[in-house]
């Protein structure tokens, strides 16, 4: 039997969850024995080259590109997992959700104390740029998500245990130390 194929991405996140994946240390050698990676920053494959079994999503959706990537993952992965606070609830980026987007943009590009020179009061508007959403959305509001791994970031062991459980079909080990948050 061929190895299960895993894809990962970071949407509106900080890559902290991906760092946590790398935190499994020497187990990374076991990991590449266990699974094959496709689209992922880990192997730098930019587009899906085949259908995947598991998609790990870090971060929520703050712009139109996040939405496209997430929908692409849903199309190409049998199982999608929201990894970490931002994917599950929006996380830190969602702090802007109570503020109208125009106010956010004005503060960032026109009126903010760090704005040095913008005499024409331009807010970036190139067509190449992703369009910002009115608020940051958790992934499950955009596509169906099958599993959730909580944490900021989820501990390396939790991600590892979850992957192993998904691949082997065994029950997920959830010792207290892995899911306590204080």
């Amino acid at each position: 039997m061929s190895k299960p194929i895993v894809a990962t991405t970071s949407l509106a996140g900080c890559f902290g969850c991906h760092m946590s994946i790398l935190d499994i240390d020497e187990k990374i050698l076991d990991l590449i024995e266990l699974v094959e990676f496709n689209k992922s920053p880990i192997d730098d494959i930019k587009t899906f080259t085949k259908k995947c079994d598991i998609g790990l999503i870090e971060g929520g959706c703050c712009n139109s590109e996040n939405i496209h990537v997430l929908k692409d993952f849903r199309k190409n992965c049998k199982i999608l997992v929201s990894v970490g606070e931002c994917a599950i609830m929006g996380g830190l980026p969602a702090l802007r959700n109570g503020i109208p987007i125009k106010e956010c943009l004005d503060e960032a590009y026109i009126n903010g104390p760090s704005v040095q020179h913008n005499p024409k009061g331009i807010i970036p508007n190139d067509d190449e740029l992703p369009m910002l959403l009115d608020r940051v959305y958790p992934c499950h509001e955009i596509v169906k998500i099958d599993y959730y791994l909580p944490g900021c970031p989820p501990r390396a062991e939790l991600i590892w245990n979850a992957l192993v459980a998904l691949v082997t079909g065994d029950e997920l080990k959830l010792p207290y130390e892995v899911v306590k948050f204080d």
């Binding site: 939405i67 987007i101 125009k102 807010i123 508007n125 369009m131 009115d134 509001e141 955009i142 169906k144």
Partner: protein, 602 residues
């Protein structure tokens, strides 16, 4: 204005624990409590300004802005809506030219929604400057508004005769009807006020009183059903230089109005019960916490308390018992359902926000002002008078094995005879439907115990009312098949919990609101099967809330899913197992406008 506030503060001895009373008086005097007054209150009571503001902002009937010369609070309970509230509301809005939540430009009339005001048997009802107007119709609304235009005083605006019994009393003069449909030991006329104090207490030790109450097996009537004798014993044994007896007359559970009737018709029985409790526990002060909506009974009750003092039923050496001193005062609330929770009620009486305390310690150990305190329901305190008069064994004969005595039921909704029924525990729902003249073939559901209780269907009507089966604080709302159960009842009750959460626990602050949105999604035919599962799962999380309000806030939805699942299932989209409600065009509209670019939606 300034001297006025000074008078009020002086009246309460500049005591910061009486902040509620100060605010109530200012609100009623001025129609609102502006910032300069809250600052003055803070200075005079020697507390910080935010202390005043946080208490003030907590209660529905305190307002920082003027509420109008005539402040009209129209009840928004489920039954009010069933009885035609919508048309009454529309008439108010059309005739005054303003929407609810506003005051007319000339400052004459304010229109506001309010949670159940305890008049479910005579809805639609409203409070106008604290006075109750019942059985409102569009026609009646026009009359009232005409009277307001003519500048009539509120008490001159009644067109119908006053209600029955003591509602006609010179000191009450209200159109409220008692609607007593069935009497038992509590509502019986066969009662001589003071009889236990004169004849029984002098011959009994406090311990004997507690024993007698224990023998009766009486359990608290507020809904939780804690054995009363045991509570008294705990408090008696607790160490404290002063002890307090609280009567919880804050019945805020929509659909409940039995305490209103007791406070109107049997207040002496209640006061005597408090004196008995005071004697048993060793307390010197009693406080009746009355919900704001019953302020129209204030002068009447104050007068009776004075009468009791004159007759030595309150005061020093009561009933000739050397050294037995006990007095009672009224404490009014200001519109907060959560204050019916005993520790929140104590907090409120201390002049603070009505937020429930962490327990333990329980009030019997550390209650009002940190002293041992018994909090009993109105009905419980009334019952103990009869227990002492006739003996605990006599009382235990009423009702069932685990639930002794009688229970006052507040019956409302779709039936011929809404009102108060004093029945023995052990009656079935079916019995009550028959008594109340409900057309059984048409009844689709009964809400037992108010929004925090359960919504049951006909297959459960043979269940009996008792702590072992269907426990209830005493309200039954009958709903016939002309009603849309989910919209008229479940959504209304859920909105009630959203409105009444004190906000202290994040569960109760957030989840009811999320559940409400989800229910609206289902009602709007946008739901999927997962939404029903989500509601059930989220409801479980509410159980970690600190008080009963939060723990039961999901009950309208949870019990209706359990007993009327088909109503949910027939509304959801069956062909979808996932439905994103995300709309890219709507989501990027604002940012594209701000940046001046045309959305690219491909």
């Amino acid at each position: 204005m300034a001297t006025n506030v000074q008078d009020i503060i002086t009246k309460y001895n500049k005591d910061k624990t009486r902040l509620m009373d100060v605010l109530i008086d200012v609100q009623s005097e001025h129609g609102y409590i502006p910032k300069d007054i809250t600052k003055e209150i803070a200075r005079e009571l020697d507390i910080s300004h935010v202390d005043v503001e946080q208490t003030m902002s907590f209660y529905h009937f305190f307002s920082e802005t003027p509420t109008g010369k005539y402040a009209i609070f129209l009840n928004d309970s489920a039954v009010a809506n069933m009885m035609g509230r919508q048309k009454v509301k529309e008439t108010f809005e059309r005739e005054t030219g303003i929407k609810f939540g506003n005051v007319t430009p000339d400052g004459a009339i304010g229109l506001f929604d309010t949670s159940c005001i305890g008049m479910n048997d005579q809805e639609p009802a409203a409070l106008i400057n604290g006075r109750v107007f019942t059985n409102l119709t569009p026609f009646r609304v026009k009359e009232i508004l005409r009277d307001i235009k003519d500048g009539k005083a509120v008490e001159e605006m009644y067109s119908a005769a006053f209600g029955d019994g003591e509602n006609r009393n010179e000191l009450i003069k209200s159109v409220v009807q008692n609607n007593i449909r069935k009497k038992g030991p509590i509502l019986s006329e066969d009662y001589t006020p003071g009889i236990v104090i004169w004849k029984k207490l002098p011959e009994m030790t406090p311990e004997q009183v507690i024993d007698e109450v224990k023998k009766s097996n009486i359990r608290g009537r507020g809904g939780a059903g804690f054995p009363t004798g045991l509570k008294w014993e705990f408090c008696r044994k607790a160490a404290g230089e002063k002890k307090y007896i609280f009567c919880n007359a804050d019945e805020g559970e929509p659909g409940t109005f039995k305490d209103r009737v007791i406070l109107t018709e049997r207040p002496k029985l209640l006061f005597e019960g408090m004196v008995i409790a005071g004697y048993a526990v060793g307390a010197t002060e009693g406080i009746v916490y009355v919900r704001h909506e019953y302020t129209y009974l204030k002068n009447y009750l104050e007068n009776l308390l004075q009468g009791a003092r004159d007759r030595n039923l309150l005061g020093k050496n009561i009933g000739g018992i050397e050294g037995f001193d006990f007095d009672i005062r009224l404490q009014f609330g200001a519109g907060a359902y959560v204050c019916g929770e005993e520790s929140a009620l104590i907090e409120s009486s201390e002049g603070k926000r009505g937020e429930p305390r962490d327990r333990p310690p329980f009030p019997v150990e550390k209650g009002y002002l940190g002293m041992p305190t018994v909090v009993n329901n109105v009905e419980t305190l009334c019952s103990v008078v009869k227990v002492l008069l006739n003996g605990g064994e006599w009382y235990a004969k009423f009702g069932t094995k685990d639930s002794s005595g009688t229970k006052l039921m507040s019956i409302s909704g779709d039936c011929k005879y809404p009102g108060v029924y004093e029945v023995e525990w052990g009656f079935s729902v079916k019995d009550i439907l028959e008594m109340a003249g409900a057309d059984e073939d048409r009844v689709q559901a009964v809400q037992v115990g108010g929004p925090s209780g359960s919504l049951i269907g006909p297959d459960e009507f043979s269940r009996t009312l008792c702590f072992a089966d269907l426990a209830t604080g005493g309200s039954l709302i009958i709903i016939d098949n002309s009603r849309d159960l989910l919209t008229d009842i479940v959504l209304n009750f859920t909105e009630f919990f959203v409105e009444e959460s004190c906000g202290s626990c994040s569960t109760c602050r957030n989840i009811p609101n999320m559940m409400k949105l989800k229910l609206e999604k289902i009602l709007d035919a946008r739901g999927i099967a997962q939404d029903i599962t989500d509601l059930e799962e989220w409801g479980k999380v509410l159980k970690v809330s600190r008080c009963g309000l939060g723990q039961t806030a999901g009950n309208p939805i949870l019990t209706s899913i359990k007993n009327f699942r088909h109503l949910y299932e027939e509304k959801i989209q069956k062909d979808k197992d996932y439905d994103t409600e995300f709309d890219m065009a709507a989501a990027v509209k604002a940012s594209c406008e701000a940046a001046g670019r045309i959305p690219n939606l491909n």
